[in-house]
């Protein structure tokens, strides 16, 4: 590990994989993808970084603790449906807003997307939490 080629490649691959993971997340409702696989893809970007460099630098790159990611993700998923509490529908009934861009091109945005973002964050957080702490484990005395 720590080869120069891998390091250099990671510099370019990392943003690409991250963008790809967000692409997977967003398109998931219509095409193969979604929060779960998106979160895994994002996690693999960070793991690539960890393989090329090391755990501390990956943690710096993440900027937040993975446990925080898990918590925020769970709260996002849970909170995505607070609207339903206001209008008395069953929890997790979806709410959608359609934005018309051109006459036959419009964008639907709804609470399931927020839910999916929560899933994405939890999966990312859990994967990184486990993998990074196991990799860190052997480094300790």
């Amino acid at each position: 590990m720590g080869s120069l080629i891998l390091r250099k490649a990671t510099r370019y691959l990392f943003p690409v994989i991250m963008m790809f993971s967000i692409y997977l997340l967003l398109r998931g409702h219509n095409e193969p993808g979604g929060g779960f696989v998106g979160g895994l893809a994002a996690a693999s970007a960070f793991i690539l970084n960890q393989l090329a460099f090391d755990v501390p630098s990956t943690k710096r790159l993440m900027n937040v603790d993975s446990l925080t990611l898990i918590g925020v993700g769970l709260l996002t998923a849970l909170g995505s449906s607070v609207f339903t509490l206001l209008d008395g529908q069953p929890y997790f009934s979806s709410h959608w807003a359609t934005i018309r861009i051109t006459s036959d091109w419009h964008l639907s945005i709804g609470t399931p997307l927020i839910f999916d973002i929560g899933v994405y964050l939890v999966v990312l957080g859990v994967t990184l939490a486990i993998l990074l702490s196991i990799s860190n484990f052997r480094k300790s005395p």
């Binding site: 409702h29 979604g34 997790f92 859990v126 993998l131």
Partner: protein, 764 residues
């Protein structure tokens, strides 16, 4: 009424905030809540006394028969008044008793919570709701007993009370559920309307037994009585409020409440009378050996509760009236004596009655209150206690087996009343350091008002308590309000002769106090064999069981865990096949395509490769082949989402395994033949079961497929063309939430475990 119950909880929640701004004065403001409740309940009195039942209903969880239904009849009103009135006296008392304690507001807050729960118990119209409040009283009682949580005895006593009443609570829950099912309704009003019909029900003995265990454990009946004296570790205001006048009477309340539907049968009369008498005697015997103020009072409370249960068991109109009046009188004098005992200990730092005396000149007001309450407890004429005792005697005179224990307990009441209420104030001297002072007004208010109540009930019983007692007794009997004529003095009757006899014997016993204590201490070793011992043994046994099962099941070896899981799965599979009788005939004729055939062969090769691999890395690589081929199968069958996820998981899994390997022992350790053989058996069994299950799952269709529904509505309702994802995040979002929660917990635990190991490594 919902607001009446909830106000206590709201106030309890707001109190810490108030405390921040106002400090200890917040406790006095908190006392306004019970005061307002007392006034409110008092205004309901005239309507209830005329036989009306006030009801308020609002829906909460109708699916499980849970409604926020409250009803107020004579019995509920009696308890509600006691609870709120004594609460209004105890909270100001607390503010002085815990003066300077930084956690005072927590105590008051818990007291308010308790008050609200207790009101909930006596006002609930729904059995499930009643149970919820019932458990809440156990819980708040735990908080209050364990208030001095830095003392080990407090923690132990709190836990004991919680476990004993909590265990009883489980019995009660089962009993109430059975009762509700048998009656066809969980509403008390409706059950009470059915009156009498339940006594002939097939399950009657079962739910009666369960409910009785619940009620007896709460009301400290033998053999559950032991938690109550131990609960005296609680600060005195809690003892006065919970453990003498209100919470311990919850069981009595429940028995009284259910008397119209469950009472009157042989089992009811037999059990209640027997347990009541037994409790009476136990309380009396144990009290004779005590020398500490609060424990003395606690054992007499046990005896008094036995009294009430016994009277309810007898169940005649007169006995029920006696139980109600005795309950009122007991609440007044016992709370008062507890509060004075708290003052004495607070001022002198002494709780041993043998070393107390001569306090009257230091604290005349407290002394006067104490003497009045003691007179009432002893049952001297012109006290509330006397009126109650006359009624009790009148209802048991014709039953010798009950009458003698009743006299014995009354005798003990005389003795304890003297020791606790009078002796500390007689001339003599206390072994206290410093000069005791009169207590502050906030502490005296309670004893004074309760003392006045004892006197009022003694001089003008009919005006003071007649109507309330009559309507409560009517509610217990389930009939119309009957006449109840309470008189301060009936003239010379058999009851008053018995009373006089008791008093004389009691006074004689007072003079022989020394002997009593000696006899009592001689019997102390007997107490060691009591239920307290059983309780300890059970706790110990439970711990041993936990240790044993942890050692067996949680061996810490991953290999064993996997084996247990796989074998359990195989076992369940075999069991279900045996139960259904036969293996479904596997006659599906699915055409095998060339790509699947190739992939299947590759998967088998990969699996074999991972078994015969000589290093871990090659085993992982072989497993990778399996994983990638599986994802290709997903692609072949049109599941790109699954395939994609599987691919990424494979990649990350490889990284995970490789990182983990660096911490594992050498691969060759596990090459012994016996172990390999065992592993092979487990693996083959697991694989076989899984294969058969998969094949069978293909054939079984329990419910009509909903695939079409999803396909049709995915775009319409879910705004998405990817059905898998629409199901995940919209149609079945709750399932997904559950899954990511499990994931989050697993992730957090993995991190915690690794951190623990690392910390351990560093230490060693």
């Amino acid at each position: 009424m919902l607001y009446a119950v909830m106000s206590g909880f709201v106030a309890a929640a707001l109190l810490p905030l108030l405390h921040r701004f106002l400090g200890e004065r917040s406790s006095l403001i908190a006392a306004l809540v019970p005061l307002a409740l007392t006034v409110w309940f008092a205004t309901c009195f005239s309507r209830v006394a005329s036989g009306e039942v006030l009801v308020s209903q609002s829906s909460w969880l109708p699916e499980i028969h849970l409604e926020l239904g409250f009803r107020l009849d004579g019995l509920s009103l009696l308890f509600a008044l006691l609870i709120s009135a004594i609460g209004a006296l105890v909270i100001p008392y607390t503010s002085a008793y815990l003066h300077g304690n930084p956690r005072q507001h927590q105590f008051v807050s818990a007291t308010l919570m308790f008050m609200a729960s207790m009101l909930g118990v006596v006002l609930s119209d729904n059995l499930v709701l009643l149970f919820i409040f019932w458990e809440l009283t156990s819980f708040t009682s735990y908080l209050l007993i364990g208030f001095d949580h830095e003392k080990e005895e407090s923690r132990k006593a709190a836990l004991q009370a919680l476990l004993v009443t909590g265990l009883g609570g489980l019995f009660l829950l089962a009993g109430l559920l059975l009762l509700g099912t048998a009656a066809g309704s969980f509403s008390l009003s409706e059950i009470l309307r059915a009156d009498g019909a339940l006594a002939g029900h097939a399950d009657y003995t079962l739910f009666l037994g369960l409910i009785l265990v619940g009620a007896f454990s709460k009301s400290a009946q033998t053999p559950f009585h032991f938690w109550l004296p131990n609960a005296m570790q609680a600060p005195t205001p809690a003892s006065a409020y919970l453990h003498s006048s209100t919470m311990v009477k919850a069981g009595v309340y429940l028995l009284a409440r259910l008397n119209p539907v469950l009472g009157g049968t042989e089992a009811w009369i037999g059990w209640l009378t027997a347990v009541g008498v037994l409790t009476l005697l136990t309380g009396a015997l144990m009290a004779s050996a005590q020398v500490y103020l609060k424990r003395l009072l606690a054992y007499t409370t046990v005896a008094a509760l036995g009294f009430m249960v016994m009277l309810l068991g007898i169940g005649s109109a007169r006995a029920v009236q006696a139980a109600v009046v005795f309950l009122m009188a007991h609440a007044c004098y016992k709370a008062s004596l507890f509060l004075v005992a708290g003052i004495i200990t607070h001022e002198t730092g002494e709780a041993d009655v043998r070393r107390l005396g001569g306090l009257l000149r230091f604290m005349p007001v407290a002394g006067a209150c104490s003497v009045v309450a003691a007179v009432s407890m002893a049952g001297l004429p012109l006290s509330f206690g006397f009126v109650a005792k006359e009624l009790v005697y009148a209802s048991v005179l014709d039953r010798l087996l009950v009458f003698i224990p009743a006299v014995a307990a009354s005798l003990l009441f005389v003795l304890v009343a003297f020791q606790v209420g009078i002796k500390p104030f007689l001339p003599g001297s206390s072994d206290s350091s410093g000069t005791p002072h009169e207590a502050p007004p906030a502490m005296l208010a309670g004893p004074v008002i309760l003392g006045l109540a004892c006197l009022a009930g003694g001089f003008f019983p009919q005006a003071f308590a007649g109507a309330l007692a009559a309507s409560a007794a009517a509610a217990i009997q389930g009939g119309p309000v009957s006449e109840l004529d309470l008189q301060a003095w009936h003239g010379i009757t058999p009851e008053s002769v018995a009373s006089a006899l008791t008093l004389m014997l009691g006074i004689a016993a007072v003079f022989a106090t020394g002997h009593w204590v000696r006899i009592g201490s001689a019997m102390k070793p007997l107490a060691d064999f009591g239920p307290d011992r059983v309780y300890l043994a059970e706790l110990k046994g439970l711990n041993l069981l936990a240790v044993w099962q942890t050692r067996v099941l949680q061996s810490g070896s991953l290999r064993r865990y996997v084996a247990i899981i796989v074998l359990a799965m195989v076992g369940l599979f075999v069991l279900s096949v045996l139960r259904s009788g036969e293996l479904p005939i596997l006659n599906r004729n699915t055409p095998l395509t060339l790509p699947s055939l190739i992939l299947g062969l590759l998967i088998m090769l990969g699996a074999i490769g991972s078994m015969i691999a000589t290093s871990r890395i090659s085993a992982v690589a072989a497993l990778g082949v399996v994983g990638f081929c599986v994802s290709l199968i997903y692609v072949l069958h049109g599941a790109p989402d699954l395939a994609m996820t599987q691919l990424v998981v494979e990649a990350l899994g490889a990284v995970l395994l490789v990182s983990a390997f660096l911490n594992l022992p050498s691969f060759h350790d596990r090459k012994r033949w016996v172990g390999r053989f065992r592993d092979a058996v487990v693996a083959i069994l697991g694989g076989l079961a899984m294969t058969l299950m998969t094949l069978m799952a293909n054939d079984v269709q329990l419910a009509p497929s909903i695939a079409h529904y999803f396909a049709e509505t995915s775009v319409l309702l879910g705004h998405g063309r990817n059905i898998v994802n629409v199901i995940l995040v919209d149609f079945r979002a709750l399932d997904t939430l559950g899954e990511i929660t499990v994931l989050a917990i697993a992730g957090a635990s993995a991190v915690a475990l690794l951190k623990l190991r690392m910390a351990g490594k560093r230490r060693s």
